[in-house]
Symmetry: D2
Subunit: 399 residues, 4 copies
């Protein structure tokens, strides 16, 4: 066993952290006060710096426009980027574009890669992923109302999607639709590339989430597909393989999310400490001198560290043995880390008192935005039940 991080990687992580602290954290107050359009120029400038530094798109191989990293390294980078809401965007590895690029890389035809992956990987365009539907419980992803009926060399797509993150301003969407309704339930859906400006694809609204509809990259779209005709050559991968491709995408995606959440946690623990060290309760006592605050800091640090140890182990298992070997671990880190995040942010708000609910710190942003962490990509409960069924089945077999 060896838990050490190689020196060169640690150096890169330190450099990235410094960049995030010095260049991106100062943008937070603007992010909180303005909308997406007011921020794009500043972010474009930071993206250039990142590209110049050779840090761009660590999730993609060099040949595909990225700078390459193993899954464990990628997780460690994601942790640094998670320290501020714009980190991943500035490094060109933001959801859902990162996952979409990985799908195109694995399953795209040459033509699809030229048309979609090249500009996506370089940050020229954005994309979205249309899977979730308001009419069907996300906890059961094989249920789906969107249908792509074949007509000659085209699909005609009809459907209703929501929580298509960053659909506002996206150039294209990857749409999950039922193409083979008579197959086994895991073999019914396909992924289809749809240009967002084409007939029949309509972004109906940016869904107001936690009081804000958002805009641009920071938004979640509700999308209607009506008689949306696309050539069959727009299908990504095999017909009926959509669900399996989505699953494959999840393992690395969860590492990415979990490490991002842990990056938030680290930053939040630092904010707790910093505020506690400066806030006077009276002439003699700072908040940092009080036991309850100390207990919260220690509990937060310990929960963060134990979740982190498991996430890194899981990243390593996926990397070395593949997703299947890590399936239960992936579910566990999803719910463990999302709940750790919620608890830590909540404690930090309580420590900050009235200041904690204002937009004068980044805490209330995460309190609002990351409540969804326990819901998207499978709510806590779905993951728990999946883990339990596997353990029970294994135990029944062993018994």
């Amino acid at each position: 066993m060896d838990f050490s991080i190689p020196v060169d990687i640690q150096t890169r992580l330190d450099d990235i952290r410094r960049f995030v602290e010095q260049e991106l954290v100062p943008l937070e107050s603007r992010l909180l006060a303005a909308d997406w359009d007011g921020l794009t120029d500043a972010l474009d400038e930071k993206r250039s710096q990142v590209q110049a530094a050779g840090w761009w798109a660590p999730n993609l191989p060099v040949g595909a426009g990225g700078t390459g990293a193993s899954l464990v390294e990628l997780g460690l980078i994601s942790e640094e980027l998670g320290r501020t809401p714009t980190g991943h965007y500035v490094f060109g590895c933001q959801a859902p574009d990162a996952g979409n690029a990985e799908l195109l890389l694995l399953h795209g035809s040459e033509k699809q890669r030229d048309r979609y992956l090249v500009p996506l990987a370089s940050g020229q365009i954005r994309s979205c992923f249309c899977m979730t539907e308001p009419e069907f419980a996300g906890s059961n992803p094989v249920q789906m109302g969107t249908v792509a009926r074949r007509e000659g060399d085209d699909y005609i797509i009809e459907g209703h999607k929501w929580f298509a993150t960053a659909a506002d301003g996206a150039r294209f969407a990857i749409v999950m639709a039922v193409t083979n309704p008579d197959e086994a339930k895991h073999r019914r859906a396909s992924m289809i590339l749809v240009d967002c400006d084409q007939d029949g694809f309509s972004l109906e609204r940016n869904i107001p989430v936690m009081g804000h509809p958002g805009s641009g990259y920071f938004s979640h779209g509700e999308v209607r597909l009506t008689q949306c005709r696309v050539p069959i050559s727009q299908r990504l991968g095999e017909e009926g393989a959509g669900f399996i491709m989505a699953q494959e995408r999840l393992g690395p995606g969860r590492i990415h999310h979990c490490m991002r959440w842990l990056g938030i946690c680290r930053r939040v623990v630092e904010l707790m400490c910093d505020y506690a060290l400066t806030r006077q309760l009276n002439a003699d006592t700072k908040l940092a001198d009080t036991q309850i605050v100390q207990a919260w800091i220690a509990e937060s640090a310990a929960e963060l560290q134990s979740a982190r140890a498991l996430v890194l182990e899981t990243a390593w298992i996926i990397q070395e043995k593949g997703f299947k070997a890590a399936r239960d671990n992936v579910s566990m880190i999803k719910f463990i880390t999302a709940n750790t995040l919620q608890r830590i942010v909540d404690r930090a708000i309580q420590i900050h008192g009235a200041l904690g609910v204002t937009d004068d710190t980044i805490l209330s942003f995460w309190y609002r935005e990351e409540r969804a962490a326990r819901i998207y990509d499978g709510p806590d409960e779905v993951h728990k039940l999946a883990v339990a069924r596997h353990l029970l089945k294994a135990r029944a077999r062993a018994g």
Copy 2:
């Protein structure tokens, strides 16, 4: 012992609940989509209906423009009004106006009552309460930087306040300021009536809270007092009595808040049930059929009911024996109920899944707005430590 609610009061509560459900709940989507100005006409109309029904200002006696109620009854009414964010406003008993009116009634000179209480009680004007200061921990309310220096027949006030709820559009403020710096620390501050449009009183901003600066009644102001000169006759009550008057105001105020929170809890449990009863997980199973959701519903109901039983008992103790006899109970219901509220809203969001974080239900509004319940009027920890010190002292005496 008698836990029954008299029939006539129960009838009034049932009528109020019906009104709230039919007239106010439908305004919620507008509240979530628009700002305060877009809602005032509708709310004014509802206020007229409330006045016509004889329900206006239940917290004030008939002679003072209200419709009168005991503290227990007031609590029960507050519970009904809490079911929707506009309830208390429409019934003319919204914070901070309700507490301010009670202060004027108890401590105001005839001139002060004419000038401020009469239009306030009738709903013609609004007011705010300037106590909290960003530079001092709210957990130690006797610390205060705002000073009212006497100069002839005037006070000259200098200070910095925040979380002056509803300052935007308020006609007057009750400002806590140190008038007697050399007295014992609980005898230093006084309450002073300040017109918001007068020189030296400046609303610097509506503080962005949980992503929104808000406006009008739904806002929290940051206020600067600079060379703000007011006649001594504007002082409310005795000089140096400000802190004690603020304390007196708290007992009933906490009943009001706790019962409002329990009204939210009841509505939220209903929303949980309603959604669970309609959401299909698959052809055979609804969300309401699943054990985890059932457990959450039952835990929520039980926590709600036990908190409620204690709040009502506490209201009764204040009513029959005075605030002092209920001091520890008041602290206990503050933290017990605020935490119950947070847990119940959180479970409801989890049950609603992605829908729960959107503004398509009222849940995310309460998730954001009521996080502060564990902070304002004394954070959880301050109340816990106070209760413990009293118990320990009593036990040390008894031992």
Copy 3:
């Protein structure tokens, strides 16, 4: 509404508490060190004092050998008695004898009452209740393997029971057995009076619970019924009514248990305070001066008080409106109070440190013995699911 306790009742409660503190608490160290037999003489003496004071068997009416009390009063008495493990026994209202006496009073024939109730009510004999079976989940009480087959004027009982509390030394048992296997599932079982010394009734062992088999009244028996022949006249109540009679017994029984648990909680909070007030951490600081301990004391007090408020309200509802009106409340207080008890005892142990796990205080006794509170009379989960189903059904009807 009126939450006051009448003066005469409060005086009686104060007297009882003083008796418990002065006469029974000092027996605790002997209880922890010795077995039941070593304690009976002392307890018999205390019982005589209780009878002389006119406090005996408050759960039974005067005509039946008790001193009578309403359900609310009984709850308040049970709270005082709960402060020490021998309280209920010394006052002649210990489980399961109290419930058995109530069943005999309600359903017993004159002959049954003469033979069983009279000596039971006076404390001359003890009894047990044989319901739970190891082979069937207690969460589903209508499942039962014990059968009483009719043969002439007799029942022949065959069955296997456990957790027959206090079977060791009991004179008779009330045995639940299926007499009508073809009826609807709630109408199959009857209650049958069986003398413990009769052929076919065998106490196989005192079940070792938490490291101790116990003995005498402090024990839980495993019982085998083999060709156990009893006359039909030994049946208590109607044939097939056993399950309904058991349910009826539960409402008051749960009040009794919950108030007993709250009595434990009160005593434990006092022990927390007392120890914290004396234990020095260093020359300057006592445990009672530390925030974490203070927070635990306050949380314990608040949880205790809110559970208590709900239990008393529930007792009042049963008393005034009957069990059915209080059904969900009864479930809620069961799991709320049992969990409150567990948390409070656990915190007290942590405060006591190493001392807390020894038998030098009563804490570890309750930690062990009362873990079962969340299990017997329906585990937490069964009550939660029952409450949720009722709420959902009511809401579905209302919608």
Copy 4:
């Protein structure tokens, strides 16, 4: 990074687990029913098997009578042994003998090693460690009342100790006593080897813990030292170095304990699964089919795995970088793992229902015995406050 366990070590672990399951788990019912003396023959036989297999004393190097293992390996072995209460004893690495042997190895003179280490390492004798005192809070280990006064070439020890685990039957004790009262508080105490049969050393009682005084190895002694005269040559290590030596011993000791607790957790999760898989709730449904039980299984597994990942990482840090680099991690794993253990055992009892509180399974043994895990070697709170102070200090420096 490399999270893999080398094949040869994994093979050894698998063999050990098989041995534990087949040879030691079956002894549990005897352990629960009998006292220590009734078990020694059986355990001696198992010890011979372990020695024959080459597994004896993995914590000691080959030259010192053990079979040697790195700290990470030792942790993994401790996890396997933790699965049953006799595991560590049978493998010759039970507390407190293991730690005492390590102290003798590091600090013992040749004569001390010959006299004490050789028979201890081979399992011929047992020992105890006398540190904790009833009069002083264990949370502040530098406070100590036991004094060793120098008189010529002897120490005269006076003191009162408790929780001397396994003192009953121990041949010698390592006694912490103040030898240098005027030094800085971390330099006052020394460790002194005292034969248990010598004048002035008296085992006053086996402390009844959770209802049992225990006996032999399974006991905790209260010890009185009265005019206990031992030659100065019996001092272990430098004078005044006792506290530092005790600290050094803690790092590896905590890994040992934490991995033992995780071994318990693994076994308990298996017991949960096995019981849930066999217990029928009704004809159609097993306990394992219910969501609440499934959620508990998954939560338990996830908490176990994340605690375990952090413990292994911590073992690796100690092994590679020394205790100091791992100091905060060591505190974190102590409270994280002890609490995980308590929660998992508690859930398992709830799943087992009435059976869970009996001695018919091993669960209630761990429920009782391991409640102390959150107390000994520093209660949760002490570790939390230590971690927080370090984090705050580091942050204050960094700021």
